[in-house]
C-alpha cells in the first residue's frame, strides 16, 4: 500500500466548482508537486444545484485504492454537503467551511474548524463563481498539503486565460485570510 498523505472530500452544489476544486488540488499535487493524486467525482443528473462532491486521495506513491474511507479534510460549501460528509471526517480531521453557507454543529473529537466567507469574498471580487478558488487558497494555507506555487500554477492552467488574474487574486484572498 502506498504512503498515504491525505484523503480529502469537497462537498457542495453543482455549479460551485466542487469537482473543479478536486481537479485543481489533484493537479497541483500530481503534476507540480510530483506526488500521486486520484480524484473521483459524484454528481446527479442536474447540471446545476444538485448535490455534488469530489474526493481526492493524495499519496507519496501510486494510489491503489482510489476512494476516501475516512477523510482527513472536509471542505463544505453547502449545508447539505456538510451534513452528508461530516460523519466521514476523521476525529482528528480538518473541517473547512464557507461560513455563510454552512452552520456546523459543535465539532466531534479533535476536529478543527476553519471558516471563511468564501462566496462573499468572491462576490466582492466581482464574481461568485470563483468562491471555490477563494476556498482553495484558504485550503492551501490551512492544510499545507500542496505547495502554494503548485496551486497557483494549477489554478492558472485550469481557467480561461482572460480570467487567470482574477482567479489568482481570489486564490490569494483565501490564502492570506486570517484564521
Amino acid at each position: 500500500m502506498g504512503v498515504k498523505m491525505a484523503e480529502i472530500r469537497f462537498a457542495g452544489y453543482g455549479g460551485q466548482g466542487i469537482i473543479r476544486s478536486g481537479i485543481i488540488v489533484g493537479k497541483a499535487a500530481a503534476i507540480y508537486d510530483n506526488k500521486f493524486a486520484t480524484m473521483n467525482q459524484s454528481f446527479g443528473p442536474e447540471a446545476r444545484g444538485g448535490a455534488c462532491s469530489s474526493q481526492l486521495v493524495l499519496s507519496e506513491s501510486k494510489v491503489l485504492y482510489p476512494y476516501v474511507t475516512v477523510s482527513d479534510v472536509l471542505v463544505a460549501m453547502s449545508q447539505a454537503g456538510y451534513e452528508k460528509f461530516e460523519p466521514e471526517l476523521s476525529e482528528e480531521g480538518l473541517l473547512l467551511i464557507d461560513e455563510d453557507l454552512v452552520k456546523p454543529k459543535p465539532p466531534r473529537g479533535r476536529i478543527k474548524v476553519f471558516s471563511i466567507p468564501a462566496t462573499r469574498f468572491a462576490e466582492e471580487l466581482g464574481n461568485r463563481i470563483i468562491a471555490n478558488v477563494v476556498m482553495l487558497g484558504f485550503f492551501t494555507a490551512v492544510t499545507k498539503l500542496v505547495s502554494k506555487e503548485g496551486m497557483e500554477k494549477a489554478v492558472a492552467d485550469s481557467v480561461p486565460k482572460r480570467f487567470v488574474k482574477l482567479n489568482l487574486e481570489a486564490f490569494n484572498r483565501g490564502y492570506h485570510y486570517k484564521r
Binding site: I23, A30, N40, Q41, F43, V63
Partner: protein, 413 residues
C-alpha cells in the same frame, strides 16, 4: 510501426479516463469517431472532437447510436481506423450493427463507459452489467475482444491496444470501462510518438482483379482493401464466400462462422492479457476487472494483514476468457472470490472454468456505487473458512444489501 507524431499529444496531463481514451484513440491513428452523446461517456467524444481536426481526423455527432455505429463500420471499410463511444442505452441500440461488423470482419473500436442499468438506469453512476452483452449481444456466432482498464492511464494505453487488436484480428474490439474509471482523474503520461507501437491496416497488395475480400491468409485473417479504390468489394451481412457473394448453404455457413470464432480462439494466448499478483502460494484468489480491481486492492490488503494467503488475478482482457489459466489455478486454490458490479456475470464464467475444483464466491453489487472494501475482505475470509466443495456459485451479501434489506435504511433522497 510507430505512431504518427501529429496524432500524439505528448505530455503529462491530469485528466479523467474518458478524456484519456479520446487521446489514446487519436494516438492509435483513429481518423473517424461517430457517436451520440451519452453520460458518462461524453467527455471521451468531446476530447477526441477537440484534438481531431489538427491531426486530420474527424468527429461526427450522428442522429443516434444506430447511425453512429453504422458510420463507424462504413468508415473502417473506407480505409480509416474508426471508433464509437457510448454507454448502456446506446450500447443496446448498437447491437445489430456490432454483429454486422463482426460478420464483415470490420476492425473498429467501441468504448463503453458502463453505467447502471437496465434501461436508462443511473446515468451518472457506475455499473459493470454489460459484460455478457459485450460477448453475446448480437445474434449469431462470432467472437470478439473486450478489454477492461482500471485507471485513466490504462484507458489511454488500452485504447491504443484495442485499435491494434482490431486491426490485427479484423474484428470489433470493446473497451468495457465503467463510469468510475471514465470519470476518475489521475496523472496520465502520453509518451512521444516513437514510443507508441501501432498496428497498421493490413491492406491487400496484389492485382486488383484477383482480390478476394474474404479469403483468409494462413493466420485465418483476410487482407482488406479500401472501398472506392477500384477493388471488387461485395459487402453483405449474408453469409458469403471468399468473394463476398452471398452463399447460403450449410457448408459455407460452417466454414465461415467457424473461422469467425477460430481466428480469435486459436489466438487466445496472444490476445489475452492478465495481471497476476501473489498467486504462488495463494489459498484464495480474487478475480476482478475494471474499477472492481481497484476496490479489491483494499480488501486484499486487509486479508493479508490477517495472515490469509490471497492472490489477485485481474482480467485486463475479459473476452476471450482465460479458461485455461483459471482451470489451472482451480486445481491449486481453495476458492475464487469474484467482486463485480452486477448480480453475477463473470463469476459464472469463473465457475465454468473451475470444473468443480474450487469454490466460487460472487460478491455482487447492484451498481450506482462500488463495493465497500469490507465486502471483499469478508468474502475472502469466508472463502478461506469454507470446508469442502460447494456446487454452483455462492453469493455473498454486501454491506449495502444488509443496510437496505435488513436495517431498512431510507431509499429515496
Amino acid at each position: 510501426m510507430r505512431a504518427n507524431p501529429k496524432d500524439v499529444n505528448t505530455g503529462v496531463y491530469y485528466i479523467d479516463g474518458d478524456v484519456a481514451s479520446g487521446y489514446g484513440a487519436l494516438a492509435a491513428g483513429c481518423k473517424f469517431v461517430a457517436g451520440y452523446p451519452i453520460t458518462p461517456s461524453t467527455e471521451a467524444a468531446e476530447a477526441f472532437a477537440r484534438i481531431a481536426p489538427k491531426a486530420g481526423a474527424m468527429f461526427i455527432q450522428m442522429e443516434d447510436e444506430l447511425g453512429s455505429i453504422a458510420a463507424v463500420v462504413g468508415a473502417s471499410w473506407a480505409g480509416v481506423k474508426s471508433m464509437t463511444i457510448t454507454s448502456g442505452p446506446g450500447y443496446s441500440l448498437m447491437m445489430e450493427t456490432i454483429g454486422f461488423g463482426a460478420m464483415l470482419e470490420t476492425p473498429f473500436v467501441l468504448l463503453n463507459i458502463q453505467r447502471g442499468g437496465p434501461s436508462t438506469g443511473v446515468p451518472t453512476k457506475t455499473g459493470q452489467a454489460d459484460m455478457m452483452q459485450s460477448r453475446w449481444g448480437s445474434h449469431g456466432d462470432y467472437e470478439l475482444i473486450a478489454l477492461s482498464p482500471d485507471s485513466p492511464q490504462e484507458l489511454f494505453d488500452y485504447t491504443i491496444k484495442a485499435f491494434n487488436l482490431a486491426e490485427r484480428y479484423r474484428c470489433p474490439v470493446m473497451i468495457m470501462s465503467d463510469e468510475c474509471v471514465g470519470h476518475m482523474t489521475e496523472k496520465v503520461v502520453i509518451p512521444p510518438a516513437d514510443e507508441i507501437e501501432i498496428e497498421p491496416r493490413r491492406f491487400y497488395a496484389g492485382p486488383k482483379d484477383k482480390y478476394l475480400p474474404f479469403k483468409p491468409d494462413e493466420d485465418l485473417i483476410p487482407k482488406m482493401a479500401k472501398a472506392g479504390d477500384g477493388y471488387n468489394l461485395y459487402i453483405s451481412g449474408l453469409t458469403h464466400d471468399e468473394r463476398g457473394y452471398p452463399a447460403e448453404n450449410g457448408g459455407c455457413q460452417s466454414v465461415y462462422t467457424k473461422r469467425l470464432v477460430d481466428k480469435i480462439r486459436l489466438n487466445k494466448d496472444k490476445i489475452i492479457e492478465l495481471k497476476e499478483e501473489g498467486l504462488e502460494d495463494a489459498e484464495v484468489v480474487v478475480i476482478s476487472y475494471g474499477i472492481s480491481s481497484r476496490v479489491a486492492v483494499r480488501g486484499i490488503e486487509m486479508a493479508r494483514e490477517e495472515g490469509i494467503r490471497v492472490g489477485s488475478l485481474r482480467l485486463v482482457t475479459v473476452w476471450p476468457f482465460p479458461d485455461e489459466r483459471i482451470a489451472e489455478l482451480a486445481k491449486k486454490v481453495k476458492a475464487f472470490v469474484v467482486p463485480e458490479i452486477n448480480y453475477g456475470q463473470i463469476a459464472f464464467e469463473v465457475e465454468r472454468c473451475s470444473h468443480g475444483m474450487a469454490n466460487v464466491i460472487l460478491v455482487p453489487h447492484g451498481g450506482a456505487g462500488v463495493h465497500h472494501p469490507d465486502d471483499i475482505y469478508n468474502a475472502i475470509e469466508y472463502a478461506r473458512r469454507l470446508e469442502g466443495r460447494v456446487e454452483g456459485v455462492i453469493e455473498q451479501k454486501t454491506r449495502l444489501e444488509r443496510l437496505v434489506f435488513e436495517e431498512r435504511i431510507k431509499l429515496s433522497e
